[in-house]
């Protein structure tokens, strides 16, 4: 039996907090699971970058052994169970169960085609049960309080609670645990305290790097597995990143793809090469060199990658691209048709221009420009040389007369 503690999503630390805060919940659940499926060994595959979690897990295992809750003949029942740790080197793809198992076997962390599923042939060819830390942590409390109690929480199909790592442009960031069925609005505005600096909400990305970006119209959608899937995103690990009006959705898609591109194992061609090409096209668009055909190409290629990739990583990596095109097509169009980044994030497309009528020639921008792109006499309107400007935005921030505009 294996506990998957290879938490690899950027910004997600639900499993780490459970392992650091209450490792016994996981140990107890693994022992229960072992008892149910007649397994005498549990392996925790944990990333080596979690030294504190590892230390506390070790302490907890020792304590459990001392109390006779792990080891031979637990509480005189005749049932024996031991837990060992296996360290991961921090490859995102090793969160995929077959890749995780290969990594534990000392092989390259690469997924293999399922079936056979690990439950039929897993670690060392033996039937293997793989569950996540959070799943395990739910077990003791369900056993203690009963399934009826647990089933009362949540929605009809998604029961219980879910931990989210709330991050991004939101006032209260951190881990939250909410009943399934809580709406995005409740999470973002009630628990999260709304958008930072009173800016406008634009999108929330759920499910980690391969989730989708949801818009305002989904704010009142109850969060559960079914609804997130139907909306073009997913629950994934429970990452939740909030974006405001200043975020460029093309750049966001590119950012996520950069992650999956690096974390692809490289085994199957669509994921290995396809994600690279998607990233190149997105990069071209953010540079202002894209055209309408590129948007079409992104859609076609994304669908082929989803349709042909070997594992969940490739099957979901184009989600940020597809969901941003579906929900923010106007932003893509602005980039390719007008050469504009509406959020002002794509530096290649941004131009800082001095409004001659508002500029009184105070020279503040001139003195602060790091590359000497601004020229002008005192008390005479200044001018920005676009060929020298590096678009750092210092002039815009320094100007006290709102004379500098971003195009």
């Amino acid at each position: 039996m294996v506990c998957n503690a290879d938490e690899g999503d950027p910004g997600a630390f639900m499993d780490r907090s459970i392992l650091e805060g209450d490792p016994h919940s996981v140990i107890e659940a693994m022992a229960i699971c072992g008892y149910c499926i007649c397994s005498d060994t549990g392996l925790v595959y944990i990333r080596a970058e979690y030294p504190l979690a590892i230390e506390r897990l070790k302490i907890a295992i020792n304590q459990a052994e001392e109390y006779g809750l792990l080891g031979d003949d637990i509480l005189g029942t005749g049932f024996s169970f031991k837990i060992e740790l296996r360290y991961g080197a921090g490859a995102f793809v090793c969160g995929e169960e077959t890749a995780l198992i290969h990594s534990m076997e000392g092989l390259r962390g690469e997924p293999t085609v399922k079936p056979p599923f690990p439950s039929v042939s897993g670690y060392m060819g033996k039937p293997t049960n793989v569950n996540n830390v959070e799943t395990f942590a739910n077990i003791p409390v369900i056993i203690n309080k009963g399934a009826g109690w647990f089933n009362k929480i949540g929605t009809e199909k998604s029961k219980g609670t879910k931990v989210f790592a709330l991050a991004g442009k939101i006032n209260n960031v951190g881990l939250i645990e909410v009943p399934m069925g809580t709406t995005l609005r409740e999470v973002i505005y009630d628990i999260g305290g709304g958008i930072k600096d009173g800016k406008e909400f634009k999108s929330v990305q759920t499910g980690g790097p391969s989730g989708g970006c949801l818009t305002k119209k989904f704010l009142d959608t109850p969060i559960d597995y079914e609804n997130l899937g139907a909306a073009g995103s997913m629950m994934g690990s429970g990452g939740m990143i909030v974006m405001d009006e200043d975020d460029c959705m093309v750049s966001i898609a590119k950012f996520y793809l950069e992650f999956t591109l690096e974390e692809s194992c490289g085994k199957c061609s669509p994921c290995r090469i396809g994600n690279k090409r998607l990233h190149e096209i997105l990069d071209k668009i953010t540079q202002g060199n894209g055209d309408l055909e590129d948007i079409e190409r992104l859609k076609v290629l994304s669908n082929v990658i989803k349709d042909t990739s070997l594992c969940g990583l490739g099957q979901s990596s184009p989600n940020p691209v597809l969901s941003t095109i579906a929900n923010f097509e106007n932003e893509y169009l602005a980039h390719v048709l007008e050469g504009k980044c509406p959020a002002g994030q794509c530096k290649s497309l941004v131009h800082y221009v001095i409004n001659e009528e508002l500029c009184n020639g105070c020279t503040l921008c001139f003195r602060n420009c790091p590359v000497g792109a601004i020229t002008g006499e005192r008390r005479v309107a200044h001018f920005i040389d676009q060929s020298l400007c590096i678009k750092c935005g210092v002039c815009f921030e320094k100007c006290k007369f709102n004379a500098i505009t971003v195009n």
Partner: protein
Amino acid sequence: MDVINLVIDNKPVVVKKGTTILEAAKGIGIHIPTLCYMKLDDLNIENKPGGCRICVVEVDGRRNLAPACCTDVSEGMNVNTHSIRAINARRTVMELILSDHPADCLICAKSGNCDLQNMAHNLGIRKIHYQGEQSHYREDTSPAIIREVDKCIMCRRCEMMCNEVQTVGVLSAINRGFNSVVAPAFEMNLDHSVCTYCGQCVAVCPTGALTEVDETGKVVRALSDSAKTVIVQTAPAVRAALGEEFGYEAGTLVTGKLVAALRRLGFDYVFDTDFAADLTIMEEGTEMLNRLGRHLAGDKEVKLPILTSCCPAWVKFFEHHFPDMKEIPSTARSPQQMFGSIAKTYFADKLGIKREDLVVVSIMPCVAKKYECGRDEFKVNNNPDVDFALTTRELAALIKISNINFRTLPNEEYDNPLGESTGAAVIFGTTGGVIEAAVRTAYELHTKKELPRLNFDELRGMEGIRKATIDFDGTPINIGIAHGLGNARKLLEEIQAGKSEFHAIEIMSCPGGCIGGGGQPYHHGNAEILKKRQRAIYQEDTKKSIRKSHENPYIIQLYKEFLGKPMSEKAHHLLHTAYFDRTE
């Protein structure tokens, strides 16, 4: 339930449970294109990582497309192998692979034999819609194999051969994502690794990423040098495969045309490695009888089983992995090296020329032979016994370059004295052949009686490890045969553990033996080709008037005129060798 009913492209089909979609489709004549997938029937070799995704098909009710090579059929399945969705995906994946592959087909060593090129053509790719950055890696040249890593498509066939079949463990996937590629650990050079140069990676590579070192130019230069006498030897397995390069059916023997072609190319003498194979039997067989005799007489010091030592990849393998056992293999040099050694002494003397003015070229089914002839112990004053080893493929290229119409050539005979051989020698080309040849001679030398039969069917076949007991007129001799280094490893580990029951073991590195060597015409995953070559080898044996090595008149003459007797001091000096611990 043991059978599954399904529908593929509107055709109902009933197959056994556990059949893949690919196999089920093949059974009803539907060819689903594959790229990384490779299966060599009867040799237990299969590569199906499910990585290339070219074989994807549409299955009703399934969310995504299914890779046909590694998806088992299920009851009621409805498969469409050429729906627009499947074809679009397949072509897009192909375009992606091509977008990260150098487009130098016109000058690539693999052009015309490239599975990727073929597939691109068959899928009708005329434009690559997804252009972008291409991967670049350092080219790696070793004594035998060149790695042009830019051309690697991550099919993992070489990795499977190197790790699972050969258990050598040099090639594996390194790096991640777009930078993933198959290479030795830390991207070290092959010649710094424990690579045996068996060339099975080259034999299965679908592209030009792995090829042999091309030495045809050096041979052409030697041939055009009037100061040099250039002689050539041809290994047994070459005659059973060269024809494939000229449109002959696999398994067509082209011995006579091979000789004629070499003569047209300008070689002064066309000789046969088979002659040296007979010589090997004399030496190795004598050594075997010697050790066996001592063993039967109760000598506890004698090392048994004796292992054959004809295969250079096998030699390098045990030097790396089993150096503690380097006293066990026969000390007999390989036929290639015995030939070179005799040519540059006995034959050079006959011609009255210095060894430096004699160039020995060998035509081999093998890439490791290139490495072998460069080993220091096979040189005298830095002059190698064998100057150049060309593969069967390189010879075919040379014939084509030289405007020789192979198919219209007459059948010609080898020259003497180093061209005469027996049926025992020709079967060196297949797994089981060396030991059968040794048995034919050892039996008669040991029992002083004539063999009641010449064909030892119990030693023949394609099974990875075979065993048989041969009755040496009352003395049972246990013989083991392994082909593929993974199988060899199993027998070696038995010896190490003191559990080996064998007196003698034959080992060949390549699956099938030399007929399946890394220098042979590409089999493209068709094991039937290897079996046909094997049949041809045994056919050549039965055609020979003399079928026992010790009856070769030129071998008898060689011992009389030059060597004295087998294992004589001179023979020891010229025909035997030592092995080295390469673990350092």
